[in-house]
């Protein structure tokens, strides 16, 4: 391509504008989380002052929030394990179907996710109330798993598609059953895709708000909901809310580079070019 000034000007200008738009709320919160109360609303603002850890200390000491963080970790990890246990076999099976059956099943799987989450809260609330799953981690794990499984099947089946069929055939020649082939050959070959799927499920469950809001009260409340306790209705005490935001973001941010190429969802795999 011919050397052209326009592309550099355009490229840098657009990237700069989006960097400001996408990062400034996050950086502002990071800055707020480390301000001392006296600096909170000074004008002009103190962007990088003398960093203070007092808000972080305050939220870690907060019993309700720290137990909510533990709930978030337990619920998210269990959701990953349970979703994998359900969707790895299903995805492996789907990826070995004939094309027509495969297309129908994948359509069904995507359709299962098309209805908005809001429609499920009333029935699950009424059901969980009957069977005493309201305000339990188990209840949240069940519902998060139900939400994660369709997308997990979709991703995983495309990773199993990429496992060379010759390798699997060789295992069968040696007398392996289908389950053995899956466990000993296909899962190890597809491990990086499986890991990325696991991370995506973890993030989805970590971020989940609607069910945690309606199906828990105190015991099983997750951090994504408990964080609202720190919001000041009036006044200027934003330090703890900001620090809690940063704490919630930290575990996710470190994952982004690993899952970057899988993040685009079902649309990236094959369909976009069409």
């Amino acid at each position: 391509m011919r050397h052209n000034l326009a592309r550099y000007v355009y490229g840098y200008a657009v990237c700069f504008a989006f960097a400001v738009f996408l990062f400034s709320p996050i950086l502002w919160t990071l800055s707020t989380s480390m301000k001392r109360p006296i600096e909170m609303f000074q004008w002009p603002p103190v962007i990088v002052g003398e960093p203070s850890g007092q808000h972080y200390a305050a939220i870690i000491a907060d019993k309700e929030f720290s137990s909510a963080l533990i709930n978030s970790i337990i619920v998210s990890m269990s959701t990953v394990v349970l979703t994998m246990a359900l969707s790895i076999p299903a995805a492996f099976g789907i990826s070995h179907l004939q094309k027509k059956a495969m297309r129908r099943l994948l359509t069904l799987v995507l359709l299962l996710r098309a209805a908005p989450g809001m429609i499920y809260i009333i029935p699950y609330f009424l059901l969980f109330r009957e069977i005493h799953l309201i305000d339990t981690r188990l209840g949240l794990i069940i519902i998060n798993t139900m939400f994660a499984t369709p997308l997990a099947i979709w991703y995983l089946s495309s990773f199993f598609d990429q496992v060379p069929r010759e390798v699997e055939e060789a295992a069968i020649m040696d007398g392996a059953s289908m389950v053995q082939t899956m466990v000993l050959i296909s899962i190890p070959v597809a491990r990086s895709g499986i890991a990325a799927t696991g991370i995506l499920i973890f993030i989805g469950s970590w971020n989940e708000f609607l069910f945690a809001l309606t199906l828990t009260r105190d015991e099983a409340k997750t951090a994504a909901v408990a964080i609202l306790n720190f919001m000041p209705f009036e006044g200027t005490d934003w330090g703890r809310a900001a620090a809690a935001c940063v704490l919630m973001l930290a575990p996710i941010v470190i994952f982004v580079p690993f899952i970057k190429k899988y993040m685009a969802g079902p649309t990236t795999i094959g369909a976009v070019k069409g």
Binding site: R2, Y10, P150, G270
Partner: protein
Amino acid sequence: MASRWLNERWALIAPAIAMLCAATFIPIAAVLVLSTLHYDIAFPDKISFVGLDNFKRLISDSRFLNSVGVTLMLVVIPVGLQLLCGLGLAIALKEKLIATRWMRAAFLLPSVVPPAVGGILWKLFLIPGVGGLSYLASLSGVHLQADLLGSRASALAAVILVSVWFGVPIVALLLLSSLESIPDDVYEAASIDGASWLQAQWCISIPLVLPAMGTVAVFQALEVLGIFPVIFVLTGGGPAGATEPLNYYAFLTGFTYLDFDYSAALLVVFTCTLVCACFWSIRRISAGRVGS
């Protein structure tokens, strides 16, 4: 191989699919049934069948009509802006400039932020007079004191802004992968014919990613209503219902006013509209994934 595994395959697939179908269709059926009943959670024994009464109530409910309008605005405007901004960003990120590689990863950050946290980030950022937006405005010489969340139009604009903030990274990523599937030869041929870079973008890149934009639009249309937590934190649906989409109204009806049967009717209308609008696109997308 395939024929030998016929039964095993279904044994592997069936548990997950059966569980999913049960966990999806039974609740939806329950909502459908509930929407035709009179049900008061305080007196759960006094259930009676009222047919379409709950739906008749919709027609004369001005709050429902308002929320339909808000839903439309909160789907169409953010998705349109996301596609526009996402395309602009994707074209910029496709060029091999300094640092584009790490920017591609870093720009994805907003799309993994928990929505409730996103709401708090923006609420803090938009504090009138002393928030980050006022600061940015003051850097460019504008004096901004107004409470954006205080008036109807600007509150709606703020929610749209946050919605775009959440969605642009993914849209840009999708469109970027579509842009990168265009062979370099096409651009070289255009360049040899004397096209400038801008002309090449306008006449090659944009027309060739248009089909992909259709698919992305469908997915984002389903996705943008997931900003429920943002609305919950940022505006609470206000002021005066200006940022109250249908799903938020249904949530309030069910869980604040405990009017479960009417909330079910709202959700039936909401879900039918969404699923019907997206069914054909979903079929096409999975056909594209498998190859027909």
